[in-house]
Amino acid sequence: MANPEISNNIPLQKKRRKGVFYELFIKHPLLTLMIAPAVIYVFVFSYLPMAGIVIAFKDYTYTKGIFGSDWAGFKNFAFLFQTGVIYRVTINTILYNLAFLTVDITVQITIAVFLSELSNKYFKKITQTMLLFPFFISWVVAGAIVFNILSYRFGVINNILTYLGKEKVDIMNNPVIWPPIIVFFRMWKGVGYGSIVYLANIMGIDQEIYEAAKIDGANVFQRIKHITLPLLKPTVVILILLNLGNIIRGDFAMFYNLTGNNALLLDVTDIIDTFVYRSLMTMQNYSMSTAAGLYQSVLGFFIIITVNAIIKKVQPDYTLF
């Protein structure tokens, strides 16, 4: 009896995999259509422009257009590897992004857990709003804020030091303290927004589990440790995976504005994007800029594929695809 069942099952499963979207569409046409805007968005802004990648391999001129320009082979990539700086800035970029990832996730989860455990509704709302606020400031403004705090002549810190009768300190030109400063301000800016995802996740956890734990005598910390955090794990893994795709991309606006493009800090604040900006800003060469972007995309693509494959081996449920 077992045999025919198995043989019947295989084609069925195949059929189901193929037609999963079709079936869903027949069953819930309106619900399925709701992803249309997202699909169109990704198609128009991510897939259509992809054809423009050819610029990276061409001697681009307006008159001949994107597809009519002459082929240039890999010439446009040469500037990246000309001096070897690219290796250093690539490592910088990855290290910064790893630091961001670790610090951001830790702080965001902590905040989300705190917020979820708060019982005073108004205090909770006000805290959340205040945390979210920096997210809506552009890096240009954030850069001005940082400058006004750290500046030698006008800075808040130095004004306080002078008031206390102490010597002024030159923070803006000191490379050593900049990596922590950058990580901190990035955290400050993103924490409110980032914690929303985790908070929503925590809110979605079945309250009965908590109640059961309470009855069993678990205190707050035990509940967090044994219920909240383990249940957050899939979300954390997926968010890490999504972020890894961008690990080779630096946030140009952040680095440029926070440091005020200060050349003295370049050794510790130089990332791929600022390096490319410095190299090409006076040249207006679209082909070479595209080449740099493509370098980042290809590296990011391989990183995400590799990590996804590893996770597939270890924890198949948590993979992206």
Binding site: T61, Y62, T63, K64, K75, N76, A78, F79, Q82, T83, V85, F136, S138, W139, V140, G143, F147, S151, Y152, R153, F154, D170, M172, N173, F252, A253, Y256, N257, T259, G260, N261, N262, A263, L264, L266, F275, Y277, R278, S279, L280, M281, T282, M283, Q284, N285, Y286, M288
Partner: protein
Amino acid sequence: MSKKLILVLVVVFLTTSLLMGCGTGSNVNGPGNATPTPQATEKPTDPEETEGPQSDIDLSEYVELKMVMVGPELDDYERIIKLVNDKLKEDLNATFTVEFLDWGEFATKYPLKFASGEEFDFCYTSNWSFYGDQAVKGGFLELTMEDIQKYMPRTYANVTPDMWDGVKVDGKIYMIPQTGLQFTGDHNNKFVVRGDLLEKYGMSEIKTADDLLEYWDNVLEHDPDMIPIGINQSWWGWWVIASFRPIKWVGENWGAGPYNAYDISDPDNIKIIDGDEWWADRLDAFKLAREFQQKGYWSKDALTLQDDNGVMFENGVSATAIRQITMCNEMYEKVNAAHPEWKPMIVDIHPEAPAPYYPVTGDGMALHATTKHKERAMMVLDIISYDQEYYDLIYYGVKDQDYTLNADGSYTWISKPVNVGFRGMNNKIARMSTTVAPNYKELLDNQVKNGFHPKFNNFIYNNKNVEAIAAAISSIEEKYAPILQMGFAEDVEGMTQQWRSEVEAAGLKEYQDDFTAQVIEFAKRYK
């Protein structure tokens, strides 16, 4: 729609719009070397003597033109453009509007205007705003002498063949150069200082470099809240330093290349300064910069400051402004109008210095390659550039309302200076203001006396063969130049050596060879 959905949509919209705003972080300050030169010393070719546009040109169709201009929108633009357009409509059956690209966005937006294929008819251009680059990329319309003669008779009469030669890229004309008298700042900058401070320090005048240093020392001693001279990354201390050192390798036949200098007086035997000699000279300069920085002549924040030299001076934050002579006068007029009690004055600490004229490609106008109204655009450009009535209206406003015209042809503002007039069209027919600095005319005459036309001005380098090296060197330069030129390096010699070895490792030799080859070709052709 439920309230929540609306809220979500609003949040999404706000987020996207804010995120989009994050992208532009660059802050490019306007280059200091380009400004209208009121200039009444040279007699212009009277446009009336030349024949107007030929009558066989069809003007029956009304056209609306668009101009792209650099710099912030002029305060009185709206009011003046209406008056100009009323006249233009009558004379040429055309009107035009202007899109201004402010300094902060100019460097990124200007090339995009061309790359995106946006419709406009003419625009500002110059060697520092991508003239050679856009000409090579096909952004501009080629102008033929026949067309210029036919549609721009006034321009044809005023721009000399030399000048047309000077703007040629690969033998083709893409720019209409301006004809006003202008000098390059470079080693020849002048300073604007505060007379009230001089009095306070018991100093009578500033005539030499030592006087200026004494003035700065006094500022440090008596006004510790002020900066002697404000500089930031785009106003690298370079020009300040250059003013205090003997001028090397400057002259009619001298030109600067990538980390070297050329003497092209003998095209068959071009002299090149590079290697040790060139770097020794730089090292000297960097040491002086370090000395100045240590003394505190500029702020410790200079590397991150966004305000430029002029803004700091105007706001009373700094005690000195540095720029080329005509810009100095502009600064004088502005500050004198706002703070006459500061008693601003222009000082020249090296009146004997050779004064290079500004390159022909330094300021001008060009036609967009895709303009649909080439003829009318040329005619409009011609009339607003060289017809005295139009020119006065555009540059000085309405007669007897904004300014009065004096018997000698100069003008006087009635209440306050009117901010009108486009960059790139400062031509011979410009008038001299009566509010200029008392010694302006004298200084200008002195400049003319020391003036020379650097042959190199007409040399346009095409880096096509060495683009990768140029980009690599540019990134190294951006790293070291600001630090050394503003005196922030603790180990000046070490960093200079580092800079040198890095550019050399990046392929400087190949770059220089390519550059030299083009210089030789240029020198031979020019001769």
